[in-house]
């Protein structure tokens, strides 16, 4: 219909530039237009003045409007309007046809039960290919893990284990660098496993003005399917610590169904969570709390058992790796005076195998009692005044110690402990703590996650009830029982704390996890924040010990709370050499990026280190990989390495400076094949549409793909000619003139002014 009325495909109007070929100046058109419009208005004006009025004023305006519009349209045609459009020169350009050959193309979800690959072949063989060949040289490719030339459509097998669309587009552009590439036609389901089309590829295609026309294959939505979309799990954990996996999944056709989300290590179930499915298509995130268990690398399977009549059962489970570390981070606890809290914190942590606590207690003005020291001389001279001495700890607890106890240098060291070393700092309440200890006037005020003033009477030796704050409902620190609702109730039933310290509100970016209630007022009991590379917290009491003494002997709430708080304090404190990879599980890909951050004893970045990665392969052999410093980031080293075989790998990073060993670290990663294509197997229409829109191409469905051969000519890439398409002879113009005259005539008949 569009083409019948407008003579040309819509693409001509999208790509074309409007011009007037008549050669007469535009001001002449405007002058004539005013004259004609005025001339047409004159009879109406005169008849009103002569008193010969037979119609009302607005009716005169309508009739005049119709006459004037038609006159102006005819006048415009005299100026010869046209569209200037670039078209590909026949037989002088190359068109690349790229067909997705990945496993997901074998899914039979096209009309008539055909596979996506079969539909692609059908589209090509039903005339598209032939029409293209009439106008252009056609180069055919198939894309999966890599790009390959294709001689005939029968070679499309839909067997490749991954789809790399970016690589394919770059490959086509590179192969056609010396020939006039007019357009790329991509037939795909859009299921890219490399995270979509990268910016570099898009920029390259756009810079050459190559339009990418896409033909989307496959259903946009399954009727019955559940898919694990993502799993957020820490790459490292302390032995026997509790960690959370955040699992996001989505389903269609199973709304309100109960499913059991499980997390396994081999055959052993570490955690599970029953969940009720939300509305179709709505992503849903659930947490599974589990114990990391003993030290060692772990490959955890997270998923849901296949559901009844599920169309794709292979996307219900994913594998994630966690390196459970054998290290036992150390916490330094300084307390300003003997306190019951001190004793009970120590007792709670003595049970904990994952962290160790070293403490110094000021028993008298000049005496410090040390406990948990690694060797007799440790902390012999009091609180550390050297970075390398303080930074050997991963966590720091400052009990009721007044700010004046620390020298200016020590205060700065405390800041750097958090900011530079990345340690965790916890302030406790006390008669010499927080604002009563002068911290409100110190330069370390910003280390506190809550605001404190300069008052000296904020520490109250009165009991107070405690409750979980909204921010603590998802926190691992405050999770005393696994069920979130039961946990809220558990907090309400805890014995009152023995004392509390008043503080202000939480600072922006800080989270209040628990509150105490006094006289109907709620105040922060436990608040946390990130600071620099580390984190800090305030526990505004020295009276949680009542949770131990006032609850049954077998109750472990007090121990659990302190274990979890202290693990949070130290778990993310980085070692001097910290290695990582952005993707621990390589699904149908081979390239692994190895990163390392290297720091000295004072945690300053080291840019002149020799850093090597020793990669242990699945077959037991090993390879050494040299890592290079990142020019713009001090202390950062990177390398890219190919994992040729599927299986489990371990990378051990060793950093040296001369003969001095700066440290070692390791991480594990895994290559899995034949997995990626199972996920996101519905048509990714959004990606294909965006790709076309951003490159000047058009998205087609299989039913509209026949138009592609006509549209493809209008491109600015390759060898083009500019054509002027006349607009004066469009059928729509004729119909407009006719309809305006007819309307005027009918109105005149109706109003009796014929």
């Amino acid at each position: 219909m569009f083409e019948f009325l407008f003579s040309y495909p819509s693409r001509v109007y999208e790509k074309g530039q409007f011009v007037l070929l008549g050669g007469w100046p535009i001001w002449a058109w405007a002058l004539l237009a005013i004259t004609v419009a005025g001339g047409l208005a004159w009879p109406y004006f005169r008849s009103r003045n002569d008193g010969e009025v037979r119609i009302q004023g607005w009716q005169s305006v309508v009739l005049w409007g119709l006459q004037a519009a038609m006159a102006l349209l005819l006048l415009s045609l005299l100026w010869q309007p046209a569209l200037l459009v670039a078209t590909l020169k026949p037989q002088q350009n190359v068109v690349a046809v790229v067909v997705d050959d990945s496993k997901s193309m074998a899914i039979a979800d096209e009309s008539g039960g055909k596979t996506r690959a079969a539909t692609a072949k059908e589209i090509l063989n039903a005339g598209l290919l032939e029409q293209l060949k009439k106008q252009f040289q056609v180069r055919m490719y198939k894309v999966g893990r890599s790009l390959e030339r294709l001689d005939k459509t029968e070679d499309i097998q839909a067997t490749q284990t991954a789809t790399r669309l970016s690589d394919a587009l770059r490959g086509v552009a590179a192969e056609s660098a010396s020939v006039p590439l007019g357009a790329i036609v991509l037939l795909s389901d859009g299921g890219d496993n490399a995270g979509g089309i990268d910016l570099a590829t898009l920029s390259e295609v756009r810079s050459r003005r190559i339009p990418v026309h896409t033909v989307g294959l496959g259903r946009e939505k399954y009727d019955r399917d559940l898919e694990i979309m993502s799993v957020d799990l820490p790459a490292r954990a302390l032995a026997d610590s509790r960690i959370t996996a955040q699992v996001t999944l989505r389903q269609t056709g199973y709304a309100k169904t109960k499913v059991n989300l499980t997390l396994r290590d081999g055959t052993k179930i570490l955690g599970q969570q029953t969940m009720v499915m939300k509305a179709d298509g709505e992503p849903q995130t659930e947490s599974i709390l589990f114990n990391a268990g003993p030290a060692g690398p772990k490959a955890l399977q997270i998923g849901v058992a296949p559901l009844e009549n599920e169309e794709n059962r292979a996307n219900n489970q994913v594998t994630r790796l966690v390196n459970v570390e054998a290290t036992k981070p150390r916490i330094l606890y300084i307390e300003g005076e003997p306190k019951w809290e001190y004793k009970f914190i120590r007792r709670a942590l003595e049970e904990d195998k994952t962290v160790s606590i070293t403490s110094m207690l000021r028993t008298t003005q000049n005496k410090i009692y040390r406990q948990g020291v690694a060797e007799p001389k440790e902390l012999e001279n009091g609180f550390p005044d050297k970075a390398e001495e303080l930074f050997q700890y991963q966590g720091l607890i400052i009990g009721g110690v007044e700010i004046g106890y620390f020298t200016t240098a020590q205060q700065e060291l405390i800041r750097q402990f958090v900011d530079r070393r990345g340690g965790g700092l916890l302030f406790l309440g006390g008669r010499n703590g927080l604002s009563d200890g002068g911290w409100g006037r110190s330069g370390l005020l910003d280390l506190l996650p809550v605001s404190i003033g300069d008052r000296r009477d904020t520490f109250k030796r009165d009991r107070a009830k405690v409750e979980l704050a909204p921010g603590g409902q998802d926190s691992l620190i405050t999770r005393l029982v696994e069920n979130p609702e039961a946990n809220i109730e558990r907090w309400k039933k805890l014995p009152e704390i023995e004392n509390y310290q008043e503080t202000g509100a939480a600072k922006p970016g800080a989270v209040v996890l628990a509150e105490f209630l006094v006289g109907g007022k709620r105040m922060p009991l436990l608040a946390t924040q990130n600071y620099g590379r580390g984190r800090s917290a305030v526990l505004a009491t020295a009276g949680t010990w009542r949770w131990q003494m006032l609850q049954p002997l077998e109750d472990k709430t007090h121990e659990l709370f302190w274990e979890q708080l202290c693990r949070w304090l130290v778990t993310s404190s980085p070692p001097r050499v910290l290695s990582s990879t952005p993707k621990q599980v390589l699904t149908d890909e081979t390239k692994v990026q190895i990163r390392a951050e290297v720091r000295d004893k004072t945690y300053l970045p080291v840019s002149d280190a020799q850093v090597q990665a020793r990669v242990l392969l699945p077959d037991g052999s090993s390879e050494m990989v040299d890592m290079r410093p990142e020019p713009m980031s001090a202390g950062q080293y990177t390398a890219t390495w190919d994992a040729d075989k599927p299986g489990a790998y371990v990378a051990e990073i060793v950093a040296k400076r001369g003969t001095e060993e700066l440290g070692t670290d390791l991480f594990n990663f895994r290559r899995e094949d034949g997995v990626a294509e199972n996920f996101g197997s519905e048509q990714n229409k959004e990606l294909l549409e965006k790709l076309s829109a951003q490159t000047g191409g058009v998205y087609y469905s299989p039913s509209t793909a026949s138009k592609l051969a006509k549209d493809i000519s209008y491109s600015e890439a390759g060898i083009t000619v500019r054509e002027a398409k006349d607009l004066w002879n469009l059928p729509i113009v004729f119909f407009l003139i006719l309809s305006m005259r007819a309307t005027e005539w009918m109105l005149r008949r109706k109003w009796g002014v014929v």
Binding site: G336, E337, P338, K339, W340, Y342, K343, F344, R346, R347, E350, L361, R362, T363, T364, Q365, K367, Y369, Q371, R431, R461, D462, E498, A542, W545, R546, Q548, M549, L550, L553
Partner: protein, 267 residues
């Protein structure tokens, strides 16, 4: 014949009980022990630590089973108040100027992780009280016992203690134990006598010739019950201000008390 044996047994039992009771009664006391108690002006202050005395049932009560002047209240309250003055002066511990008294029939004891029991050679805990004391100690509470002497009082003490811990032995505390070093290094310890020495001329009572530093340990080897047997540390606290009472006894008593408190707050 049978009636003679009965009569003989009754007479013997009466003599043993009388002897024991007479020994208690024969212990001298000073007027200020029973004198008017002056409440310090800061008695109401809320503090971190309160000297907490355990009130226990004994068969000595002057005015009933829980009598105010039962054996639990020996040296009360002067010893308590005089001792905490020393604790205030010698440590950074925030201490209340007056004592508190708790018993084993309520849960108030759980608010006081350190308790002191005197003359435990006369205590008599029932099963329920013993169970509560066991729970208290296993949760992290600390009990210091003092001022009981000789084998007979030891037997009475351990009779109740065995109800608290049927399978946990009493051990002699070695010099290396942290409880003797947490504040003061107390390798050189000696028997601390009560004021009975002014009359008897000897530093011991009954057959308790040698001072014993004993304890009951938890599963991690921490002292839960600090047992000062054949000593009267309470008297030393109480009479530290008496010119006749030797300073070295009072000093050791204060150091022992402080070490036991600081130990209980650190272990």
């Amino acid at each position: 014949m049978r009636s003679r044996i009965w009569i003989f047994s009754l007479v013997l039992a009466f003599m043993v009980i009388s002897l024991t009771y007479a020994q208690r009664r024969s212990r001298p006391s000073f007027d200020d022990e029973d004198g008017p108690v002056i409440t310090p002006p800061d008695a109401g202050e809320k503090t971190e630590f309160t000297f907490t005395r355990l009130r226990y049932p004994s068969f000595r009560g002057g005015s009933g089973y829980w009598g105010v002047r039962g054996s639990w209240s020996t040296d009360y309250p002067k010893a308590d108040r005089q001792f905490v003055q020393g604790v205030r002066r010698l440590t950074r511990l925030h201490v209340r100027s007056v004592e508190d008294v708790v018993d084993l029939d309520s849960d108030e004891i759980f608010n006081h992780p350190w308790i002191y029991a005197v003359e435990v050679g006369h205590w008599d805990l029932n099963e329920k009280q013993a169970a509560k004391l066991r729970e208290y100690l296993l949760k992290g509470g600390f009990l210091m016992v003092d001022d009981f002497h000789g084998s007979i009082e030891w037997e009475i003490f351990t009779a109740s203690l065995s109800r608290v811990f049927p399978d946990r032995p009493v051990v002699d505390l070695a010099n290396k134990e942290p409880i003797f070093h947490v504040m003061y290094d107390l390798d050189e310890r000696f028997q601390i006598p009560g004021i009975v020495m002014f009359y008897s001329g000897q530093t011991y009572e009954q057959d308790g010739v040698e001072g014993k530093w004993r304890g009951v340990l938890d599963d991690k080897g921490r002292v839960m019950v600090g047992i000062c047997h054949n000593m009267d540390i309470g008297d030393a606290w109480e009479h530290a201000d008496m010119p006749r009472y030797p300073e070295h006894y009072a000093s050791l008593a204060y150091r022992i008390g402080i070490n036991y408190i600081v130990y209980s707050m650190t272990h």
